[in-house]
Structures are given as structure tokens and as C-alpha cells.
């Protein structure tokens, strides 16, 4: 049987022959992941399972990123519990404090995930690693606890939707715009239970970081995974992080449930309007919407290329009076690189607040919460009602360029219009 990327990767991790979508198979996992919200529950389940040790101390990662720096006593207790568990189990990849970053930016940067891996994480945006050609998917805590104990888990082999992006990306249109456009087209449950596979000239032209931005939001279409072939760019990215990987692509003739083609030539940047990621409109249709806050960061758009894109727009300009523009480089590595390149100075000169590497405001945790009636534009991934704070607040989702331009204008704006 000719395999899609998802099927091909799962096949390499199971002894059962994969013959059809819908089949349930047991697979070995390459890495099991949890964070400061989900690890405590996973640990509770792990203990209840009677497990005494993790299946491989090098293949479990615990990243304390959501409420970091610990925002209150309760969240500090959760980190303490996770830290003590990591020590007890001798877990190699435990990250907290100064070596901690937003998990889905941090693990690729550290070379802990790569092409062909099967990664399960107690975080819905685990699908980010599909940008590197890994079959990576979000689980609940107990599912991850099972994987931590056994080193394996079950999957229903997903059917795959192929999304082909043709043409050449116009200036100010990037990875975030492509994934929002797709979600706008198929809806927040358009890929429910399915894998998404991305290809085409516009995808080949994207950086590996851009591909991770797209894979990150596969879950916002209900997808189980968002996958990209591992090409020369992918291999250069992972080799620079100490890995030895091989190229990976779907088999010729693999069967797709649905094939979508998008021409990106002449495309305008887009935004997702409240309160669902599928409410996608060209930026021109919502320009002028007033703002109280801008957030640039997260596992979707907190990498160095995102910082460069935001800084390019902000350089020599000021954030509008009355708008809080919060920039959160996603890892200490991104922070240092942004500092070296002078981007942090650009952000400070523009009047931004530059904060630590944290998930923080994306999930309404801390460091930038919205009051009743306040409105934000963010480079994050979800704009559900109340996601960033008050149930009476609103969040628009956009690229770093559009977010930065909107910070300057004080209203939603096209970066080319400044």
C-alpha cells in the first residue's frame, strides 16, 4: 500500500502492517511531553498506574512554560511537583526558569524532535513538530502518562487531507496567513480525526520555522497532525541542532481523502475574527478596528523569524498611545538572538513591553490579560471567547507583520499601509 506521510511514519513505529485508514495500531513513541498544567495530572495518573519508572529517561520532556515565571502559589506548587518527579525519575529533559521556553519552540531548537519521530504531548499544539516531518499529536495527561510508562500508545490511522499551496507569496503574506486561509476554508472541524499534509511551491519556499507555524495550527481545524515532507531545508535545520536525519516524503500514489489547492499569488494578509479561528477575513475588511493590546509571541509565532518580521515593521515607528504591545520571544535562544540582532532595542524604542519566554497571555494565564470590552490582536493560535481574559473581551489572530502594523496604527492595519 502506498502510504501518506502520517501512515508512513506510523508504519515505521509499529510491527503491524498498516493497510487502511481507520485501522487501530500500537506504536512506539519517540518522545512523550507534558507541561506545567498537564504534567501534574500525568504524574498523578502515572502513580495510579503503579508505574515505577519512565520507559526511557531521555525520551520524556517536561517543560514548565505555561505559567512561567510561576504566577501564584498554586502554579508554583504544580511546578514543584513536576520538578520533584523529574528528579526522582532522572528525566534528562526537564526545563524550568532560565532554560525554559515555550515547549513547541524549545524542543525543535534543542534538536529533541525531528523527521520520522512519533511524538505525543499533553498539549494540543504538539502537532507543531509536523513542520519538521514528525507525526506529532496532542493527548490528554493520562494518555501521556501511559506513553511515559509503556513507551507506546495506540492510534487510529488517520485519513489524510492534502493541502497544496501554489504560486509565490506576496510581500507581507506568510505562513500564518496560509494556515488561517485553510482553516477559514474548511472550518474548525474541517480536518476532525484527520491528518493534514502540506505541499506545493509556496510550501517548499517557506522556512522550516514557517512550516512549524502552519503545523502548529492543524489542531485549529480539528486535525490530528499537520505534516510536511522533510527536505533539504529540514535536514539542514535539524543537523544544525546535532541530529542526523534522513529525507522523508509520502509515497507516490498515496491515497488522499480530499485534495485542496490554494493559489497564494496576489493574496492579502488575513486575520481570524472573534470568536473562532475559522472567522477569517482579508485584513482590508477589518482595518480600522480599534485595539487595546497586541501580543507577539507564542508557539505559533514566537520564533526568531517572527521577531525579525515584527521588528521590520516596528523599526523607527512608535506603538500607538493607549495600546499595550507585548513581545514574548518564545525561548531563551530566540531572546538572545533577538538581542544580538538589535531587535529587542527596536521593540523597546517602539514602546513595546518585552517579556520572558512564556505562554502567558495566549491562554489568559498571565502577563497581558484583557478586561471587559477590551480587544487584542495576537500572533497566537486561538481566539475563543474569554481565551485571553474576560468573557467580554475579543481576540483577533494574525501574523507578526499585521500585529506589529496594528500596534503602530492603534487599529487593525495592513503592514503595507503604514
Amino acid at each position: 500500500m502506498a502510504h501518506t506521510l502520517a501512515q508512513k511514519i506510523l508504519q515505521a513505529h509499529t510491527d503491524e502492517a498498516i493497510t487502511a485508514a481507520g485501522q487501530i495500531v500500537r506504536c512506539r513513541v519517540s518522545l512523550a511531553l507534558a507541561n506545567d498544567i498537564t504534567a501534574p495530572l500525568a504524574i498523578k495518573s502515572f502513580r495510579a498506574m503503579g508505574a515505577k519508572r519512565v520507559f526511557d529517561r531521555d525520551k520524556v520532556a517536561l517543560v514548565m512554560d505555561h505559567f512561567t515565571p510561576q504566577k501564584d502559589i498554586a502554579s508554583a506548587q504544580q511546578v514543584k511537583l513536576s520538578r520533584e518527579f523529574a528528579r526522582e525519575m532522572g528525566i534528562t529533559h526537564y526545563y524550568e526558569g532560565g532554560d525554559c521556553g515555550v515547549e513547541h519552540a524549545l524542543l525543535p531548537e534543542l534538536g529533541l524532535v525531528g523527521p520520522g519521530d512519533v511524538v505525543v504531548g499533553a498539549d494540543s499544539h504538539t502537532c507543531t513538530y509536523g513542520g519538521l516531518g514528525a507525526f506529532a499529536t496532542g493527548f490528554g495527561s493520562t494518555d501521556v502518562a501511559g506513553a511515559m510508562a509503556l513507551g507506546e500508545t495506540w492510534f487510529k490511522v488517520p485519513p489524510t487531507i492534502r493541502a497544496t499551496f501554489t504560486g509565490t507569496l506576496p510581500k507581507w503574506v506568510g505562513a500564518k496567513d496560509l494556515i488561517l486561509r485553510l482553516i477559514g476554508e474548511i472550518g474548525v472541524d474541517g480536518a476532525l480525526y484527520r491528518a493534514l499534509e502540506f505541499d506545493g511551491a509556496a510550501i517548499e519556499a517557506l522556512s522550516v520555522e514557517g512550516r512549524m507555524t502552519i503545523a502548529n495550527m492543524a489542531i485549529e481545524a480539528g486535525g490530528k497532525a499537520g505534516l510536511f515532507a522533510a527536505d533539504a531545508k529540514t535536514l539542514a535545520y535539524t543537523a544544525a541542532r546535532g541530529r542526523k536525519d534522513v529525507a522523508l516524503a509520502a509515497d507516490p500514489g498515496a491515497a488522499y481523502e480530499r485534495e485542496l489547492v490554494f493559489d497564494v499569488s496576489g493574496m492579502e494578509p488575513v486575520v481570524a475574527c472573534p470568536h473562532l479561528p475559522e472567522n477569517v477575513k482579508p485584513v482590508g475588511e477589518v482595518k480600522g478596528v480599534t485595539l487595546d493590546q497586541v501580543v507577539i509571541g507564542s508557539c505559533t509565532n514566537g520564533r526568531i523569524s517572527d521577531m525579525r518580521e515584527a521588528a521590520e515593521v516596528l523599526r523607527g515607528r512608535k506603538v500607538a498611545k493607549g495600546v499595550r504591545c507585548i513581545v514574548l520571544p518564545a525561548t531563551p535562544g530566540v531572546w538572545k538572538e533577538a538581542l544580538k540582532e538589535g531587535l529587542i532595542e527596536t521593540f523597546m524604542d517602539s514602546g513595546c513591553i518585552v517579556g520572558p519566554a512564556t505562554c502567558g497571555p495566549c491562554l489568559g494565564g498571565h502577563m497581558g490579560i484583557l478586561a471587559d470590552g477590551e480587544r487584542a490582536i495576537a500572533t497566537t493560535n486561538r481566539n475563543f471567547r474569554g481565551r485571553m481574559g474576560s468573557l467580554e473581551s475579543e481576540v483577533y489572530l494574525a501574523s507578526p507583520a499585521v500585529a506589529a502594523a496594528s500596534a503602530v496604527a492603534g487599529v487593525i492595519a495592513h503592514p503595507g499601509s503604514l
Partner: protein, 163 residues
Amino acid sequence: MSYTGTAHKVGEHIDTDAIIPARFLVTTDTKKLGENCMAGLEEGWVKRVKPGDVMVAGRNFGCGSSREHAPIAILGAGMPVVIAHSFARIFYRNAFNMGLLLLEVGDEVDKIADGDTVEVDAAKGLITNRTTGATITCPPLPASMRELLDKGGLVPYVKERLA
């Protein structure tokens, strides 16, 4: 597995931030999470629920974050079963792992209105609306899900494997 209770109907694409907002994720306690069930939809929503009641929802229930606190909050609020048009996949796995029964019924979900009394017989795959007399037959649970529920969830399942 048979339940009878009042239906509490919610809409489409109810996400896990609506089921249990992130600000309540500083505990793993079932009762405490249950006290704030659906607080992201409406403050105090849970006050209408009596133990044994049934949640009824539209498309894609449980989308968004992978937080297992969501099915726990529903169980903690006293609801042992959710009937929906469809479920988001991470929520689907989590619910069964936690012992929360889910029944996916498609458009038939429209046969249940808020406040109706519903009877669920999971073994027969039959839902009866006691208020209107309407019935809904559900597709059989996948074998792997039945095995998980039979063993009492993922924790006892793994415990058995490790023993």
C-alpha cells in the same frame, strides 16, 4: 451502563476553554474543577446541574486545548455522559481515559431539547427522550474504546499491563 437525567444543551464548537477556563487549571481536584464546569461559557452555569444529568452538545464538542481537566470537570459536576453531534479528537480520547461516556449521534442530537429527560442505555446503543418519546440509536463503540471502559479507563489498563 444506563443513565437517566435532565439534558443540559449547549451549542456547537464548545471548546475546552469554555468547559474549564485556564485560570482554574491550578488544581487537579475533581470536585473543584466540577464547581467551575462551563464557567467559560457562562459564570455559574454549573448551578443548574443535578448529579446524573446529561450534557448534550452540537458539533465538535471539546475542541481546543488538550486539557484533561475538561472531562474531569464534567464528571466533577456530576454528569456521567455527553451526547453530541460530534467530538474533537483529543477530548474523545481523554473522556474515555477518564471514564466519561461519549455518544456521537450526528443530526439526531436535534431530537433532544434543553430540559428534556433522557435515558441512555450504552450497552444497547439506545437513547430515549422520555419527555417526547423520541429514540436515537447510536453506532456501536469502537472495540478499543469498549476495552478501555470495560477495564475502568486507561489507568487500570496500564496497571494491568505493567503488573
